[in-house]
C-alpha cells in the first residue's frame, strides 16, 4: 500500500521535474529565437540615423509565456491526455442512446437564436444590444448563410469554387443599383438579386463544365476577380471604387425604421433607436439562413441533391447511371449562387453602402475555410465553424486588456488573420475532416422506429 503511494508520489515529482527542465529549455530556445527579432529593434531617429531600440521587457514576456506554456503542457496536459486515453481504452464500449440534447440540437439552436435579441436587450439594454446583435449576431449569420450556400457547390457537388464572393457581389450590387436607380423595394429586389446571381452562376458554370479540382478552382478564382474588376472599372454605373452609398433600408410590411412619425419606433411608442432596425435585420438574416438550410436539407433527399453528392464521388459512374452531369453541375452552381445573391442583397441593405473592396478574394477564402473546417457537407459543422472563426475574430476587438502587456499601440484586430490561420491549422491537425466529418445518410429502408418511439415518450411524458 505504502509502496504504491510512494511510487505515484515519485512519479508526480518526476513529471514536475521533467516539466521544469523542458520549460527551461523552451525558455532558452525562445530567448535565442527572439533575441534579435523582439529584443532589439532598429529605428530611424529624426536625423535619419539608424538607432537600436531595446525591448527587454517584451522579450521577457515572450520567454515567460513560452516557459509557462511548456510547463503546463508537460506537467498537466500531457498526463491528462494519456490518462484519458487509458481510461477510454480500458472502458468497455458503452452504447449510449442519443441524449435529448443531441437529438434536438438544431431545434434548440433555432429557439436560442430566436430568443437571442430579446435576451440581449433585457441584459444590456436597447442601446447596448447594438454591438451584440450586429457584430456577433448578424455578422456571424451572414457568414453562416454564405458558407451554407457555398456548401451546396463545394460540399455537396464537390466543385471547388474559389470565386464565391462574386455572387455575393452580384447580389449586393443588384440591390444597391436597382434600388438607387429605380427605387424598387428590398422585398422585390431580394428575389431579383437571387435570380441574377443564379444566372451568373450558370454563366460561370458553362465554361467550366469540363474542369475539375485545381483547374476549376483557378477559373472560379479568376471569375471572382473579373466581377470585382468590372465593378471597379464600370464607373458610369457602379461609381467604381467610391461605391454606391445611401442604399435604401428595408421595411417591415411597409413600416420604415426611421425617426418619422409613422416609423417603427413611433408606431410602437418606443424611443427612437437604431437597435430596432438591427434586431429586425437579425431576424431577416436568420430567416434567410434557415431558408438556405431548409432548402439544402430538402434537396439532399431529392434526385437532384442525390445526383450532386454522387457527382462529387464519381462523375463517370453518374453518367453511366443516366445522370446528365451538365444540368447537375449547372443547378449546383445556380443554387449556390442564388443563396450568395440573397446574402449579398442583405449585406447591401445592412451596410447601406457597397464598394468593390468588400468583395475581395480574401472573403471567398474565408467562406471556403468555414466550409472546409465545418466538415464539407455538414450544416451543423459549418455553423459551428462560422461561430468559431467569425465570432472569434470579433472577440479580438474586445481584448483591450492586452494593451497592458503589449503597449498602447497594440491593436488585437490586426492579428485576425494570424489567429484565423492558426485555428485552421489546429483544426486540420486534430479533425482533418472538419468539425463534423461524418456524412448524414439520407436513405433508410425502415424508418428509425426506435428513436421516434422514445421521442414521443420524452415529448409527452
Amino acid at each position: 500500500m505504502a509502496n504504491v503511494a510512494s511510487t505515484t508520489a515519485s512519479a508526480g515529482t518526476e513529471v514536475t521535474a521533467r516539466a521544469l527542465r523542458e520549460a527551461v529549455f523552451t525558455g532558452l530556445i525562445t530567448l535565442g529565437l527572439f533575441f534579435l527579432f523582439v529584443g532589439l529593434k532598429t529605428d530611424q531617429n529624426i536625423r535619419n540615423e539608424l538607432i537600436l531600440t531595446e525591448r527587454w521587457g517584451l522579450l521577457a514576456t515572450f520567454v515567460a509565456v513560452s516557459m509557462v506554456g511548456r510547463f503546463l503542457i508537460v506537467a498537466y496536459v500531457q498526463p491528462w491526455l494519456a490518462q484519458r486515453k487509458a481510461v477510454k481504452a480500458a472502458a468497455p464500449e458503452i452504447v449510449k442512446g442519443e441524449s435529448f440534447f443531441s437529438r434536438n440540437l438544431s431545434k434548440i439552436a433555432i429557439v436560442a437564436l430566436v430568443l437571442y435579441p430579446p435576451v440581449i436587450v433585457a441584459l444590456v439594454g436597447v442601446q447596448g444590444s447594438l454591438k451584440w446583435v450586429d457584430n456577433f449576431g448578424i455578422q456571424i449569420l451572414i457568414y453562416v448563410m454564405l458558407a451554407w450556400g457555398l456548401n451546396i457547390v463545394v460540399g455537396l457537388a464537390g466543385l471547388l469554387d474559389l470565386g464565391y464572393v462574386a455572387f455575393y457581389a452580384v447580389g449586393a450590387y443588384s440591390y444597391a443599383l436597382l434600388s438607387s436607380y429605380f427605387g424598387l423595394s428590398f422585398w422585390v429586389l431580394l428575389p431579383v438579386a437571387g435570380i441574377l446571381a443564379a444566372l451568373w452562376g450558370v454563366i460561370l458554370g458553362f465554361p467550366v463544365l469540363r474542369l475539375r479540382g485545381d483547374y476549376l478552382a483557378i477559373v472560379t478564382l479568376a471569375f471572382g476577380e473579373i466581377i470585382r474588376l468590372v465593378l471597379i472599372n464600370w464607373t458610369e454605373v457602379t461609381k467604381g471604387t467610391f461605391g454606391v452609398s445611401g442604399i435604401a433600408k428595408a421595411t417591415l410590411f411597409g413600416i420604415k425604421f426611421d425617426a418619422s412619425k409613422d416609423g417603427f419606433a413611433a408606431l410602437f411608442g418606443l424611443p427612437m433607436s437604431s437597435a430596432y432596425y438591427k434586431i429586425f435585420l437579425f431576424y431577416l438574416i436568420l430567416g434567410l439562413a434557415l431558408l438556405t438550410a431548409f432548402v439544402t436539407i430538402r434537396l439532399r433527399r431529392m434526385p437532384v441533391g442525390r445526383a450532386w453528392e454522387a457527382l462529387r464521388e464519381d462523375e463517370i459512374a453518374c453518367r453511366s447511371l443516366g445522370i446528365n452531369t451538365v444540368t447537375t453541375k449547372l443547378t449546383a452552381f445556380a443554387t449556390g449562387a442564388m443563396f450568395g445573391g440573397f446574402a449579398g442583397s442583405f449585406f447591401a441593405v445592412r451596410q447601406g453602402f457597397v464598394s468593390p473592396e468588400s468583395f475581395v478574394f480574401l472573403e471567398s477564402a474565408v467562406i471556403l475555410a468555414i466550409v472546409v473546417l465545418g466538415g464539407m457537407g455538414s450544416l451543423t459543422g459549418i455553423a459551428v465553424a462560422a461561430v468559431v472563426m467569425i465570432g472569434g475574430t470579433e472577440i479580438l476587438r474586445e481584448l483591450t486588456f492586452l494593451k497592458v502587456i503589449f503597449g498602447p499601440a497594440f491593436t488585437p484586430e490586426l492579428y485576425r488573420m494570424l489567429i484565423f490561420g492558426l485555428a485552421m491549422v489546429i483544426v486540420m491537425v486534430w479533425k482533418p475532416r472538419g468539425f463534423v466529418g461524418s456524412r448524414e445518410p439520407t436513405a433508410f429502408l425502415h424508418e428509425r422506429k426506435a428513436i421516434s418511439g422514445s421521442f414521443t415518450k420524452e415529448g409527452h411524458g
Binding site: 434526385p303 442525390r306 445526383a307 453528392e309 454522387a310 462529387r312 464521388e313 464519381d314 463517370i316 459512374a317 453518374c318 453518367r319 453511366s320 447511371l321 443516366g322 445522370i323 446528365n324 452531369t325 456524412r439 445518410p441 439520407t442 436513405a443 433508410f444 429502408l445
Partner: protein, 241 residues
Amino acid sequence: MTAPLLSVRGVETYYGNIRALSGVDVEVHRGEIVSLIGANGAGKSTLMMTICGSPQARTGSISFEGQEITRLPMHEIARLRIAQSPEGRRIFPRMTVLENLQMGASLDNLKHFKDDVEKVFALFPRLKERQAQRGGTLSGGEQQMLSIGRALMARPKLLLLDEPSLGLAPLIVKGIFEAIKKLNNQEGLTVFLVEQNAFGALKLSDRAYVLVNGKVTMSGTGKDLLANPEVRAAYLEGGRH
C-alpha cells in the same frame, strides 16, 4: 434469326492518335450471356466504354434495339437501359449502400425502388446486412456486388460487366458468376461480360469473343472456345486456378 439487341460493327476507337480498337464486330442477342476475353491492353474495357459512349467510336456504328447510339452522349445511352458495372466498380464511397442503390434507380425516379431493392438483396444478401454502411467501407467483393446491384436497379435490358472478378478471391468470384447465371436464367437478362478470367467467363457464357490488339480474332460458343487449343494455350493454361 432475330435482329441482335446490341450490334457493334467495324468500330474503331482512338485515344488521341493511338488506335485502341481496329474494326471490332460484336453482336449480343436477347437473353444471351456473351463474354469478351483477352489479355491486358487488348482493348476490352475500351470496347465496353465505347458502347457506353465515352470515348465515342471514330468510325463504325453501334446500335441498340435497332437504334443508332454511336453518337449519343453517355447518359442518354444509359437511359436506353444499358446498365454498366464499370471497371474498378466505381461505387460512391461516401454514400451508403442504400443510397448507392438509389442512384442506380434514378432513371425511374425511384418508382420501383422498394421492389427492386428487395430483389437485389435477395440476390446478394450481404448487401442487405450492410445497407446502412458507407460504400467505401465494404470489402472488394461486396463492392462488386454493390456495383452490379446498382446497375440492376436501373432495370436494364442489357447489363455490361467489366471484369467483375478483378482482385477478388476465387470463392467470391464463383458467387458472383453464379449470381450472373441466375439473373440470366430467371429474369432472362442479357449480359455482356468483359473478363480476363477466361476460364470462368467461357464456362458461364453462351458465346464469346477473343480480342487481341484491338481486333476480334476468334469467336464461338463458350464450350468451343474452351476446347480450342489456341485459346487454351493463350488464356487458360497456367492462368487457371
